[in-house]
Symmetry: C2
Subunit: 167 residues, 2 copies
DNA sequence: TTAGTAATGTTATAATATAACATTGACTTA
DNA sequence: TAAGTCAATGTTATATTATAACATTACTAA
């Protein structure tokens, strides 16, 4: 008998988890997509993506520039914005409008319309897909308006921070 | 027998409509809320709201400043941002993150979590409420994350621009 | 009155983002 | 191999969006 599939843990980013594994797995995926899509994986692109994988917290462009500087990269604004544009265009990174900041995508490779949960306490972010969010627009809306892009950002308190709050 | 209620026309802002009526009605509502909430309706606050009511297109803070200047108001950045903050705080105005711009609220007075449809062609915006959008989050998401605020902005093509496109 | 306060005015600067052009280095191909 | 091409990165300057800090005004309340 097939084991019952548990629902995916959408809160993983907020909770303790083996982040080394998490990091390495995302990085492997990232590299694989570069190969499959025949994109050029430069040191700068790799570095910026690694920075964004650090701890599920978004980074602003100027934070990224500071970190690049420390690693000996050039660090004028266009450097960061160009690499971010590239990574966004190819689906590796998203911008969080609420924060004017950037996160590594959790489902890279496929074009998709992400929903974000943003914890205002720990400042971590988790990306969830349409199935996980259960988010649906009704028929009338679709007939009234042809949706091409949806920005959905949920701001609140994550499971972990709720747990801590209660005590 | 009561006449059957037709569904609210969520596309009104995008279509031809009696905008003088639309404008005056919104303005009357606005003034009424100031009275009910005992807020001070200053010339500046009134002017900024009127500017935002002009044509269902969002205005940037610096556009608003230009328009204020033409009307003899002071027009340094804090003037606009302070009035906008006030109007947002009291539910008369929303900020569209996608555009870094501001729109008059369509359901002023009540605290609510608006969804915006943004037409990338005519650049008009319509605000829809939860019922109209049919937008719902599933139970699991709620238990995993306590949502306090939701930013939802749908970018696409409105009914009117679709009609024009087809020809 | 005068002291308090909300609103507006003013100056300066912070934070975010892009335009325009120069240089580098890898790859092509004559 | 030398010249040409092009994507990536480097550099300088500037645009756009937003806030901090303090001054003035004008109404209100002892
Ligand atoms: Zn992780
Ligand atoms: Zn949290
Ligand atoms: Zn109207
Ligand atoms: Zn349109």
């Amino acid at each position: 008998m097939k084991k019952k599939q548990t629902s995916p843990n959408i809160s993983k980013n907020f909770m303790d988890h083996n982040h080394d594994l998490c990091f390495e797995s995302a990085l492997k995926d990232f590299k694989q997509h570069f190969i499959e899509k025949e994109l050029k994986l430069t040191p700068l692109r790799l570095k910026v993506f690694q920075l964004l994988l650090k701890d599920h917290r978004p980074l602003g462009a100027y934070q990224i520039l500071d970190l690049l500087r420390k690693d000996g990269f050039s660090s004028t604004p266009p450097i960061a914005y160009r690499v971010l544009d590239f990574l966004i265009e190819h689906g590796f990174v998203h911008k969080i409008k609420k924060l004017n900041a950037f996160v590594a995508c959790s489902h890279p490779g496929n074009s998709h319309s992400p929903t974000f949960m943003i914890c205002r306490k720990c400042e971590k972010v988790a990306e969830i897909n349409e199935k996980e969010s259960g988010l649906k627009f009704n028929k009338e809306t679709s007939s009234e308006f042809k949706i091409e892009e949806a920005i959905i950002e949920l701001i609140g308190i994550c499971k972990n921070c709720t747990k801590i709050e209660v005590i």
